[in-house]
Every structure is written in C-alpha cells, then in structure tokens.
C-alpha cells in the first residue's frame, strides 16, 4: 500500500525520462570517483571530466568530424532506401526474380564488410565513395527484408478486394501493398539508420581523413584517449538522435502506422 504513490510517480514522466537520466548520472559519478580513487592512468580510462575538458578544447575540430560522419551516414542511409525499395518490390513480385537475386543478397551479407572496405578503396579510390558503399552494404539488407516481409504480409482479402475492382499490378502495389507495408518499412528503417552509423565508422576506420571514426583511430594513435572517448560518446548520441528522427518521421508522416507499431517497437 505504501508503495502506491511512488509507483504512480514512476509510471509517468518519471519512469520514461527521470529514471534513466538518474541511472546514467549515477554511473558517470561512479566512473569519475573510481578513476580518481584508483588513480587509473588517463591513457587507459580517462575520467568523464577529463573527456569533457579535452574534447571541449577542440570542439571546432570535433564538430567538423561529426558533420563528416553525419554526411556519410545520411548519404549511405538514403542510398539504402532508394535501392532497397525497388529491390524488395522485385523480390516479392515473382519467384523467378526472387530465386535470381536472393542468393546474391545473402552473399553480400556473408562478406565481412571490414574486410571488404580496403578492397573498395582500391576499386573506388580514396574518397567518400567507398565509405558510402560500405555504409550501404551494412545497412540495406535488413531494410530489404523488412520491406519484402511487409509487401508479402498483406492479407489475401485486401489483394482480392483490389482484384475484384480490376486493380492493375501497379495499383495493387501503390494503393494496397506499399501502404500496408509502411509499419514494416519503418521498423526496417530504424534498424538501417542504426547500422548506417556502424557502416560509416567502419568505412572511416579503413580510409578517411575526417569523421568521428577517423578521429578515434588518429587520437588513440597519439594516446589522446580522452578525445577518442569524446568521439565515441558523440557517435552514440548521433545514433540515438538519428533513430529518434526516424521514429518522429513515422509519427508525423504516417500516424496510423506509428499507432500500430507502438506496441512492438517504440
């Protein structure tokens, strides 16, 4: 009985925002105290305060790196969308196409992207292109699968409804299958945006002169570990912000879809 008022406080704003923030803050404080208490050297594990000070000192440079990574992520993500949608439509349109393409798709996923990246640099040159290709290769597959699943999940009755009014294949796709697949597409987009960040960093590890991935490689090489940590934190924040942007886009553009998927994936 005594727990009830506290439980109520926790159920609303508290549980969703204040609780995770409090847990995070506590962990950071424990981290800070531990580093000082056990005199851990900076090059092993810098204290949060040190990460902040060192990163803030080169804020302008870090901002440039962040923009570069964001650029790679967004272009790779956009390319994934533009290629995945027609690919999923082709995959679901006929057995023949599916049998022809699907093994190729699986193959692209079997190749370790980290191993492929240096080869792509040789193939495509030392520029933005190999990074975008790696980002795309990492991100597009779950998106294709999600879209294809959505296109095939349409109940037979809705397809029959279209047929009974002599809907063409294109009308069926545009008016029934794709709208029905929207919630599936967005769950695929949420996975793809998170993977795009991973892909961009992999690309930058292998070949880049800017970007947060490059910053981590270069700063650890010079034992500037606090800056590497700063870049890592920024990358995580970038991932969270981009993921939330997809969530918001779904709510704004397709409110009925967001309502449907709320139960499954926030």
């Amino acid at each position: 009985m005594a727990l009830q008022p506290r439980a109520r406080w926790l159920s609303g704003f508290g549980q969703e925002v204040a609780l995770p923030v409090a847990v995070m803050a506590t962990l950071v404080v424990i981290w800070e105290i531990s580093v000082h208490a056990f005199a851990i050297p900076v090059y092993l594990l810098p204290a949060p305060s040190r990460i902040w000070v060192d990163s803030a000192a080169m804020a302008g440079t870090i901002w440039g790196h962040t923009v570069a990574t964001l650029n790679t992520v967004l272009i790779g993500f956009a390319v994934s969308i533009f290629i995945s949608l027609p690919l999923a439509v082709a995959l679901t349109s006929s057995r023949l196409v599916a049998n022809a393409i699907y093994p190729l798709l699986v193959l692209t996923q079997a190749i370790p992207k980290v191993a492929l990246a240096p080869i792509l640099v040789v193939l495509l040159g030392s520029n933005e292109l190999p990074r975008i290709v790696v980002t795309f290769l990492v991100a597009f597959f779950p998106l294709v699968i999600a879209i294809a699943t959505g296109l095939l999940a349409v109940p037979g009755e809705l397809i029959e409804l279209g047929r009974s009014y002599k809907a063409s294949k294109l009308q069926e796709l545009w008016r029934i299958r794709i709208p029905y697949a929207i919630p599936f597409i967005f769950s695929g987009l949420k996975v793809a945006i998170a993977l795009s960040v991973v892909g961009a960093v992999v690309g930058e590890f292998v070949n880049a002169d800017k970007g947060l991935g490059y910053l981590i490689v270069s700063s650890t090489a010079f034992f500037q570990v606090p800056v590497a940590f700063g870049a890592l934190i920024l990358l995580s924040l970038l991932g969270v912000v981009l993921f939330q942007a997809v969530v918001v886009a779904e709510r704004v553009l397709f409110p009925w879809s967001a309502k449907q998927s709320q139960g499954a994936i926030g």
Partner: protein
C-alpha cells in the same frame, strides 16, 4: 441476370489429389432478386460466389451475367467479404471511394454520393475517421457502402455478417433489406444462418457438400417488407425446418436449435 449452367470447380489439393468443390450447379437469378446460398462448411457456397465474381475461373460449365460469360471481375458487381477488409490507412470516406479510384471513375459528385451512402447506413459523422476507430458492425457497414459506391447491378455478399454478434447481425439484416428496397439490386448472399437466409431472401439455395451441389431451391413467399416478427409465422417456421432437415438430415430433429 445471372445464369449458371452446369458449373463445376475442381482444384488440386496439396497431396496431388483432385478436390471437387462444385459440381453440376444450375442456377438462374433474376434481376433484383435476393437469393441466399446456405449449406454446411465445405459445400462450396463461397467458391460459387467467387466464380460469379470472376475472382476464380470455373473448371467446367458456364457462368453468364447479362448474357456475357464471366472470365474476370466485372465493373457492375460489388462484393462484400466476410471481414470488412477496409484499408487501415484511409479514412472511412476514402475507403468507400476506393473502387472508384481503382477504376479511374472518380467524378466530382462521388464524395457526395459516398456521404449519402454512409448516411443511409447510419455512419454520418464518421466520414473522416479511420477504420480502427469503428466497431466491427460499423466497419462492415462501411464495406457495404464501398460495394455500392459504383452503383453495381449485382451485389455478392460472402457471409457479410458472419463475424458480427447476434444483435448487430439482426440489425444489419434489416438495414440491408432497407438498402435493397431503396436501391434494388440482384443480391447473391452466402450465409451460415438459416433464419437469416429465410428472412432476407426470395429464394434460398440449399447446398450439400463433397462435391458441392444444389440440394434444393426453396421459395420464400413471405410478403415484403420483412420484419423479425415474421419468424413466428408458420411459413417461416416450415421453411426453416425444411432447410434444416436438408442440411442436417435426420440429425435435424435431434439438434433442432442448430442454425
């Protein structure tokens, strides 16, 4: 007029054997007639409806609508399925307009006609709502409006009230009769419910399973407009009992209440 001559439908089952869903169906349905198909599960009544709709080809025999052989869906047919099959992302109004958009026959007055139809089934005020905001009965009403929006001559209904609760079902039956009086159409109505079939129809086609064929066609001479009070009339009772005995055979006596 719908003319079904010696129609049959067979399809291959998963194990390779041939399933005779329908065999030797002869049926003529006059314009503006209300005909019900009744029978146990597996008697092919929904299959017959799909053949008339042009959604599946007949394996043998002929199906003519107004003298033309049906080999694909026709524009002058409206279909109501067992579930409302509304598009969840469209408003009720847009769902009703869906056939016109697909058939590229949207006219400036179409939204007004859709609103009028929705008013006819008591859905005024729900035009801009989404299907998920409507009850099952309301969704099915919207589906009926959708089947009527292109003013078809023939309405095919595949257990349209099957998923509804008993009370909503009775209410919808009367509503359907009201619409039918308002806009006379040839209606082919598949149902599991014997009282529903008798109450609604001019003729009840009783079907038997394996292979699906017509057991008997029963005329219902009750006057129109029909009401639920007629269920007490001897004509109603007699016909219902007869249909029941056709479907259940001897068991009909023991399970008298089965519908």
């Amino acid at each position: 007029m719908i003319q079904i001559t010696n129609a049959s439908k067979t399809y291959a089952a998963r194990d390779g054997s041939t399933v005779h869903a329908l065999s030797g169906i002869d049926l003529e349905i006059a314009d503006a007639e209300f005909v019900s198909l009744v029978g146990p599960s597996g008697c092919g009544k929904s299959t017959l409806l799909r053949l008339v709709a042009g959604l599946a080809p007949a394996s043998g025999g002929l199906i003519d609508v107004d003298g033309e052989t049906v080999d694909q869906p026709r524009r002058d047919i409206g279909i109501v399925f067992q579930s409302p099959t509304l598009l969840p992302w469209e408003t009720v109004l847009d769902n009703v307009l869906f056939p016109l958009k697909i058939m590229h026959s949207m006219s400036p007055d179409a939204p007004d006609r859709a609103r009028a139809l929705l008013r006819l089934v008591g859905l005024d005020g729900f035009e801009e709502k989404h299907p998920s905001e409507l009850s099952g009965g309301m969704q099915q009403r919207a589906a009926i409006c959708r089947a009527l929006i292109h003013d078809p001559d023939i309405l095919l209904m595949d257990e349209p009230f099957g998923a509804l609760d008993a009370l909503t079902r009775e209410e919808m039956s009367l509503e359907l009769l009201r619409i039918w009086t308002d806009q006379p159409k040839t209606i082919l109505f598949v149902t599991h419910s014997i009282p529903e079939a008798v109450l609604l129809s001019d003729r009840v086609v009783v079907m038997s399973p394996r292979p699906g064929r017509i057991a008997e066609i029963i005329n219902v001479p009750l006057p129109r407009p029909r009401t639920f009070d007629m269920e007490g009339l001897p004509e109603f009772q007699e016909r219902s009992q007869h249909i029941r005995s056709l479907i259940f055979g001897d068991r009909g006596g023991r399970h008298g209440a089965a519908t």
